[in-house]
Structure formats: C-alpha cells, structure tokens
C-alpha cells in the first residue's frame, strides 16, 4: 500500500466534512466503546489478566528467536513448510512462487492485515492470479477498490446504502435494502469461489510454538473454508504473533474479542495444524507458513519494543478521540489510530510519517484500554523526539519551541516577555475579552476564539501584593 501519511492533516480535514463517514463513525463508536465496556465488565479480574498478558507478550518478544524456532520445528513435524521473509518483497515473492509452482489460478483469502502491509494482492493479481477476499468487509472493499480503514472492521467507513450500490453493480441483481439479505447475497457469491479455489491464504492472530498451530479468529467462519477447502493453504503472518502454548492462547482469547467488540468469544476459532493426515477427510495437501519480518526485528530490543506486544484488537483506535473524528483512512497507511501512529513511522520511515506522531492529544484513553498495556502515548512521544532531533518538523514550529525554551530558562526575561505579551493580548481582546484571530496560532483561531489574558501576570500581581503587605507591616 502506498504511504499517504504525510497528507494526514489535509485528508483529516476532508474526512471531518464527509457526512457519510461521520455517521458511520458515530454508529461504530457506540458499538465498539459501549460494547467493550460491557464485555470487560463481565470479567472480574480484567486488570490481572492484562498484567499477565503484557508480561507474557514481553517474554515472547524477549525470546522471539527461540519461540519461532520451536514453532518452525513443530509445524514442520506436522507436514507444514515454513518460509522466512525478511522484507515485504521477499514475502510476496515466496507466496507468488508457491502459487506458480503449483499452477494456482484462483485464491481465496481470509482477512489479514499483514498481507495489506506487504501489498500481496497486487503482486498476485499482477501475475494473473484471481484473488477473492472472503471476509465480508474485505469483500466489500475489494469491490470498491478501497483499503481497509480499521484493522478489525475494515469496511466500517461504508454506509449500508453504499454497500447496496456496490452489490447491485457487481452482482447484477436488484438493489437490496437490509443487511441480512446483503450478507446472504455475498455468501452466495462467495460459495463457488470457496469450492473452486486452488489456494487459500489466511493471516494468523497467533501462532503457537508448542504445537506448530496457526490460529485465526473470525465471526463469519470464512477462515475455516479458506484454510481447509483448497489443496494448498498459505499462512502469512508477522513474526511477533508467536505465543508459547495453547494455554497462553486461552488467556489471550479472553482479552482479544472483548477488547475488540465486547464479545466474550468469537463465533469461529480456526486452528490449523499441519497438512491433511492420511486418516483425515479434509485439510490441505500443502501447508505453507510465511513468517514476515518487514521491520519487526528492528523493534526488538529498541525503545519501541513494547509495540510488538500488540494483538491487533483495535481498542486503541476505537477509543481514540482523533480516530473517532477522522476515521482510519486519514492515517494514510495500513494501521490507523494510536497503534498506527506508532507503527507507521516504524515500518515506512519517520520521514514518511508526517504528522502521525502528533495526531494525538495524549489523552491516554488508548493506553487505558490496550489489553496488553502498550504505553502508546509514550511511544508516540518518542517519535516526536526523533522528529525534533532530525529537524523533521516545520521551521516555524521548531523556532517557536527554541524561542520558548530560551525564555522559560531565564525567569527575568520571561517575566518581561510575559508582562508585555499579557498586555498586548489583553488589548487585542477588546471589550468582549476575546481574540478572534491571531497570526501564528490560526490553527486555534480558525475554529475558536482565544479568551484574552487578564492583562497583568500572576507574578506581577503577586509581587505587588507582597510589597503592599510588607509596607503595611
């Protein structure tokens, strides 16, 4: 996917004025936020589980190599082939190679953000292979030729009417008006693809080291069909998704769907371990697991390593007041919201990430809801520090900080500057004591007045008062 993050501010402005999007965001907000609150309330030791899960994920990241090798060994033992891809290009080449070697013409896919990250569909389609997305949201976006705007609910930005329009045109059927019949029609369309596909591609929510299992959670069951019906199953996943044991999965699954949408459990847990055994009636003849690095090992041991704990639940964006108002596309790459503002600079380069680390008020909601306690504001701040050190922010902003820094360290000069500033600004406020426009802070005054200063600073008034007291004594 092409990186558009440097245009965050402009795109966000368009999105703020997109009535359809705003309606969709409001609707999804209550589902995600209220839903999560209810889901979390069911569990009386929620905080303990979070603490445990964060420590568990830390342990994995600190021993990533060992767990991955254990995973590889066990996956191979069950007949899977494990491939290691250092870059996005390598991952694409591996998957394409598997497809071409096996004369694959059609592929079904279940939802996978990593394949969005490496832009796998483009590679496969470019080579003449037919790729069908089977997650309902992803299917809608494939018809619309759009990128996901959310990591859990990819088409959350679309309205029912927009989907009806897409289906009518793509399926050549009468326009539908209700969601159940649209879902039914999509299922009908997808059925023949499920049955006819040569290869199925899935992502993984977790991969389990002790068994060599890959795990996918869905509400639609499409991952079941993608992973078992075609003769080849290919899993594409980030290396950080490994967890030690099935028991660890039992812990994490208490957090994941609740954090994502408040569900205590998902409709389908798809566990795939190796190829079809001689005594089994279904399953793929070949299973390939592509372990993608694409920047992840750079984080191990770095000051951003906490980010690798992420289990992709989406709670941080669902609760982020910036995301709630601008939606996911404004962030300009695969991952939106706070986790995206940390990951995008990591994976595409800080110089391409534009305003993302600054697209936060540091209100802290993301950190409070994150099931694995990732200190997202702190990580965004680290990116800001790097931007500052690398002089990546606009000149005016850097100059303002330096100037401010100069004065605040010199109390006498500061007292003089604020004394003048308070008077000038107070005069500008006029009778209403409101400043309607002020060059330099027009980002503020375009949408808000600036309440004018009283005219004298606290320090002046306090000094005068203290002096008066002295005299009185």
């Amino acid at each position: 996917m092409q990186v558009q993050s440097m245009h965050f501010k402009q795109t966000a402005s368009t999105k703020l004025n997109d009535a359809v999007l705003q309606k969709a965001l409001k609707k999804s907000k209550s589902k995600f936020v209220d839903g999560r609150a209810l889901g979390v309330a069911e569990v009386d030791n929620w905080e303990d589980i979070r603490t445990y899960a964060a420590a568990l994920r830390d342990r994995v990241i600190d021993n990533l190599d060992a767990y991955l090798i254990e995973f590889e060994r066990n996956a191979i033992r069950r007949g899977a082939q494990v491939h290691w891809a250092e870059t996005a290009e390598e991952a694409n080449a591996i998957v394409l190679g598997i497809a071409q070697k096996n004369a694959v013409k059609t592929i079904t896919k279940s939802k996978s953000m990593v394949t969005e990250e490496i832009a796998l569909n483009g590679t496969l389609i470019g080579a003449g292979i037919r790729v069908m997305e089977t997650d309902l949201g992803e299917y809608i976006l494939q018809l619309a030729d759009e990128a996901p705007s959310h990591i859990v609910a990819p088409a959350v930005h679309k309205s029912k009417e927009q989907v009806a329009e897409l289906f009518m045109n793509a399926h050549h059927k009468p326009r539908l008006t209700d969601i159940p019949s649209m879902t039914r029609e999509a299922r009908e369309q997808l059925r023949s693809h499920f049955l006819g596909a040569d290869m199925g591609i899935s992502g993984a929510n977790f991969i389990v080291a002790e068994t060599g299992t890959t795990l996918t959670v869905t509400n639609e069951g499409n991952a079941d069909l993608v992973t078992t019906l075609p003769r080849i199953h290919c899993v594409v996943t980030g290396i950080e998704k490994v967890i030690p044991t099935m028991e660890d999965f039992a812990t994490l699954i208490r957090l994941l769907p609740r954090s994502a949408i408040g569900q205590s459990i998902v409709n389908y847990l798809t566990l795939t371990t190796g190829v079809k055994a001689p005594d089994e009636s279904d399953g793929p003849e070949q299973m390939h697991i592509v372990l993608v690095d694409a920047g992840r090992t750079k984080l191990v041991g770095s000051d951003m390593k906490d980010m690798l704990r992420c289990i992709r639940c989406g709670a941080c964006m669902n609760h982020c007041p910036v995301y709630q108002n601008v939606g996911g596309h404004a962030y300009g790459w695969v991952y939106p919201g706070p986790m995206g503002s940390v990951l995008t600079p990591t994976y595409v380069g800080i110089e391409n990430a534009g305003d993302l680390p600054n697209a936060a008020t540091f209100c802290g909601e993301c950190q409070v809801v994150c099931p694995v306690k990732i200190p997202l504001p702190d990580l965004m701040r680290k990116w800001r520090e790097r931007q500052f050190d690398m002089k990546l922010r606009p000149f005016g902003e850097r100059a303002a900080i330096s100037l401010w820094g100069f004065f605040v360290q010199r109390p006498r000069l500061y007292a003089l500057a604020t004394r003048i500033g308070a008077r000038v600004a107070s005069m500008m406020g006029g009778e209403q004591k409101l400043i309607h426009s002020l060059p330099g802070i027009d980002g503020w005054t375009q949408g808000r007045d600036m309440p004018a200063p009283a005219g004298e600073t606290f320090r002046e008034l306090y000094a005068a008062k203290s002096a008066a007291k002295q005299v009185a004594r």
Binding site: A359, I401, G405, G443, G447, P451, P453, T457, F458, Y462
Partner: protein, 241 residues
C-alpha cells in the same frame, strides 16, 4: 506546614485569578504558602514536542525552586502529571537525580487532591449557587485519578452538579495539538460543547486552564456568551467575579 504553590505558565499569563484562588484556599486552610518568583513552566510543552533536553532543564529548575517545601501544590492535573509521573518514570529514570525527583513527586499534589485528601478541607469560601457541569481533564483523570475530588469540593461549596455525557472525553486541547491540528481539535471541542449544552448548566468547570480556554473559545465562537467557564479553584474559593 510549608506549601509551595506552583503557578502554571497559562495561569500566570492568562488567568492569574486562578492562582490567587488557589492561594486563598491554601491560606484559608492555614498553610504557609510560598510562591517562588523565578518559576516559569513545568516543561511539558517542550516534552510533548520532542524537546526532551529543554524539558529536563526545566524539571531541574522546578526541583530547585520547590525542594525545601513540605508539599507542592499545582492548580493543574497536567503539570502535576508531568512532575509526578513523566519526570520520574521517563526523563530522569535511572539517572542520578531520580531519587530527588521521586521525593518531589511524592509531596507534589494536584490542588483538589490536596484539599480533599491532605487538608481534608470542609469549610470553603465558595458560594456559587448555580448548576455546574464538570469536565474531567485527561491528565488529571487518567494519570492521577482526579475524579471525585473536585466534585466533592464543588458540592461542599454549594454547587449543584449536572453531569454531562462523555465528561471524561478529551476536549481536544492537547497543548500544541490545538494549534498544529486545529481543525480536529476544534471538532473535539465542538463535541464537548454539544454535551455541555445538553447538560444545561450555568457554568462548565474544570481543573486545567488549557482545556478551559479551549472550551470557552469554542463556546464563544458558537455565540454562547452566557455559559460561564471556571476553574474549580475560582468556584470553591468564591472568586468567580
């Protein structure tokens, strides 16, 4: 009891009345209040803009100014979060000064927390007889757990509380965010103003001047000249005029 009063840069420059209200509340409770004349800012604007070194220099300055006090009190959750949390958990973590900053953090209080939990103030000068709605500023709420303290003070001083919906949602201020990403910030302020309007109180009250300026700025731009905007210190000290 020697209490250092930390005057935030915004209070100093824009609304000194909040500083005097805090001073009155502390003096009324019998504290010996000292206000170091050299104080300027806690350094948070630099910290959150990526200027770590400036933030560290300022933190040291604050430490030097307040080290001899028994307590330090600030009429802001945001600056208090900076000194109680970020300075020790990040800026000076693992450095020689860490212990000194930890000691400062331990005696540093946000004003409402200090009045309720240390001074246990019960007699307050406030006499605001109208209805108020309280906006929870993010840093105070999520970093320091400031939630019930200002409400208790407001009720003790005779206010009727009309809670707004999403009182805990960010108002969009976020320091320099309000200027750098002004359009998004304005929308967040607008959402807050809608909820304030629905709550229908005479005044919106909060504990951080930055948020209050943001909210007031949007209310006035919308033509609402009637809804008052106060820091809780002004209300409970009876200094709203």
């Amino acid at each position: 009891m020697k209490v250092g009063l930390f005057i935030t840069c915004l209070v100093d420059l824009v609304r000194p009345n909040i500083g005097f209200a805090a001073l009155k509340l502390l003096e009324d409770a019998g504290c010996e209040v000292i206000v170091p004349a050299s104080q300027t800012c806690c350094g948070q604007p630099g910290y959150n803009s990526g200027a770590r070194d400036i933030a560290k220099t300022l933190a040291k300055k604050v430490l030097a100014e307040f080290k001899d006090c028994d307590y330090v009190v600030a009429p802001s959750g945001s600056c208090s979060g900076q000194m109680k949390l970020h300075v020790v958990e990040d800026l000076f973590k693992g450095e020689p000064e860490e212990a000194e900053f930890r000691a400062l953090a331990a005696k540093w209080y946000e004003l409402s927390d200090f009045l309720v939990n240390v001074l246990k103030s019960e007699k307050l000068a406030g006499k605001f007889k109208g209805t108020v709605t309280y906006h929870d500023s993010c840093a105070g709420l999520r970093e320091l757990g400031i939630k019930t303290q200002p409400r208790a003070l407001l009720e003790t001083s005779g206010c009727t509380l009309n809670e707004m919906q999403d009182a805990e949602k960010c108002c969009g201020f976020g320091g320099t965010f309000s200027i750098k990403l002004g359009e998004i910030s304005t929308r967040m302020a607008e959402n807050k103003c809608v909820n304030i309007g629905v709550a229908g109180a005479d005044a919106v009250v909060g504990g951080d001047l930055g948020c209050l300026l943001n909210i007031e700025g949007r209310l006035r731009r919308n033509g609402d000249m009637k809804t008052k905007v106060y820091h809780f210190a002004e209300v409970v000290a009876g200094m709203t005029e």
